[in-house]
């Protein structure tokens, strides 16, 4: 079974040379730490920076340089700053190759819910609805089940949706799943996780074709 860093590590393998990538808050942010060093990738933060670098050294924090999680960051050589409208032109216009974000629920038709739990304080969708409605390549980083052990990989989302039919891949603590033709296609198992474990934790339709390899991370 993977921890959060393990999920991030596995997702980092999906990042290819030449990609512009948008990382959501939480596990997705960790992906930047595990991208191969021999490829060229630029990270976009939707508040208005392309070419985002690591956190600054102490004493070098700048209130005018933050990421979408409002954390202080740095900008790498070749970085650019832009306004919010242009930032979402990059996203809506499909100039960003890969979007990685977290989710509370994903359904077998590619629907995603990650912004609202009825009855609880609603903080808002931020840029998530724009991101999921626009990107062609959306990878979700999440835990396979909730704290009560109930599946978050569903036939149909029960929470208010963030976007419809948009998720292409899901990487959880248990498995890598491809989402197509109204089903979750099992691609890989997390280390030490059996097919049965995954089947038990998946409420949505799970397609298993042949021998399922264990992830290499």
């Amino acid at each position: 079974m993977l921890d959060k860093n393990g999920i991030a590590k596995r997702i980092a393998q999906e990042v290819q040379n030449g990609f512009y990538v948008n990382l959501g808050i939480g596990i997705p942010t960790l992906v930047a730490n595990y991208v191969r060093e021999d490829i060229e990738v630029e990270f976009q933060s939707e508040n208005g920076v392309l070419g985002m670098g690591p956190f600054p050294f102490e004493g070098e924090e700048d209130a005018d340089l933050i990421n979408a999680g409002k954390q202080t960051i740095t900008a790498l050589p070749g970085a650019s700053f832009f306004d919010s409208s242009m930032s979402f032109s990059m996203i809506r216009g499909k100039h960003i190759h890969l979007t990685i974000l977290g989710a509370m629920e994903v359904a077998e038709n590619g629907d995603i819910a990650n912004w609202k739990i009825p009855g609880k304080m609603v903080k808002g969708m931020g840029g998530a609805m724009d991101l999921v409605a626009s990107a062609d390549n959306i990878i979700v980083a999440m835990m396979h089940t909730n704290k009560r052990g109930e599946s978050k990989i569903l036939k149909k989302c029960s929470l208010p949706l963030t976007g419809v039919g948009c998720v292409t891949k899901v990487v959880t603590n248990l498995a890598v799943l491809e989402v197509r033709n109204n089903a979750f296609h099992l691609l890989e198992r997390a280390p030490g996780v059996s097919l049965e474990d995954i089947q038990k934790a998946t409420e949505g339709t799970l397609v298993v074709n042949g021998e399922i390899p264990e992830m290499c991370i």
Binding site: E61, D64, T72, A75, G124, M129
Partner: protein, 233 residues
């Protein structure tokens, strides 16, 4: 050169009244019009509708207006970094219209650019699209979103000149340029009001035509919301 300079924040906010709709730049606490917000607090205007990506924290940014219950409605993409906001929202004192971030930016830009509305894929099939016109283009569904209408836009820039030309810094740019010219009156406050001619015309982010009033801001706190650092190795 058409001079847009006003002497101080009091002059800059002349005409602001109860029940107006205001746009305020900034993302989190970065690039917020600190001087305009302080003056709104002093003016004690109420029943405001505020269009701003976030709602500040308890004791800074738009949180200061919330403390005095000056805001009737917030139009934002992400809120709730402050307790008073949550309390007012849950008690029904404060109306909140949550809008996807890219849609929020484009509703500002559409107002600036003279578009009455635009189609966006964001929010299609979700509660954000409820009651809104939808339309298919090339096999994909889109939601019609109208441009904002606002009385005042308050933006903050790094540098500006008397002509109203503006230059922003880092990610403090965010919504500020999109709100310029998106309201009846746009007020720009700058960290540094430079002499006309000092800004390179090649490097101006917002031309002065979008600005009605500009003033030299004072006492910027520029608070950091999430101070994250890495260790020197």
């Amino acid at each position: 050169m058409i001079n847009k300079t006003v002497n101080n924040v009091q002059e800059a906010l002349e005409g602001v009244q109860n029940a107006m709709t205001l746009m305020l730049g900034g993302f989190g606490l970065s690039g917020i019009p600190e001087n305009a917000i302080s003056e709104l607090v002093k003016l004690k205007v109420t029943d405001l509708t505020c269009i701003s990506n976030n709602a500040g924290v308890d004791d800074f940014g738009l949180g200061l207006l919330l403390q005095q219950k000056q805001i009737k409605k917030m139009i934002s993409s992400y809120v709730g970094e402050n307790d008073e906001f949550e309390r007012q929202m849950l008690s029904g004192e404060l109306e909140v219209e949550l809008t996807p971030q890219g849609t929020l930016a484009e509703k500002c830009r559409a107002a600036q650019a003279g578009f009455p509305a635009f189609y966006t894929p964001a929010g299609y099939g979700t509660e954000v699209a409820e009651g809104k016109e939808t339309r298919e283009f090339d096999g994909k569904m889109y939601v019609l979103e109208p441009a904002f209408k606002a009385d005042f836009a308050f933006v903050k820039a790094w540098k500006g000149d008397a002509a109203g030309n503006l230059v922003f810094k880092g990610t403090a740019r965010n919504f500020n340029p999109n709100m310029c010219g998106a309201a009846t009156i746009t007020v720009a406050e700058v960290e540094e009001l430079v002499p006309v001619g000092a800004l390179d015309p090649n490097n101006i982010h917002i031309p002065g035509v979008f600005i009605q009033r500009i003033f030299q801001g004072e006492n910027y706190e520029k608070r950091i919301e999430q101070r994250t650092i890495r260790k020197r190795s």
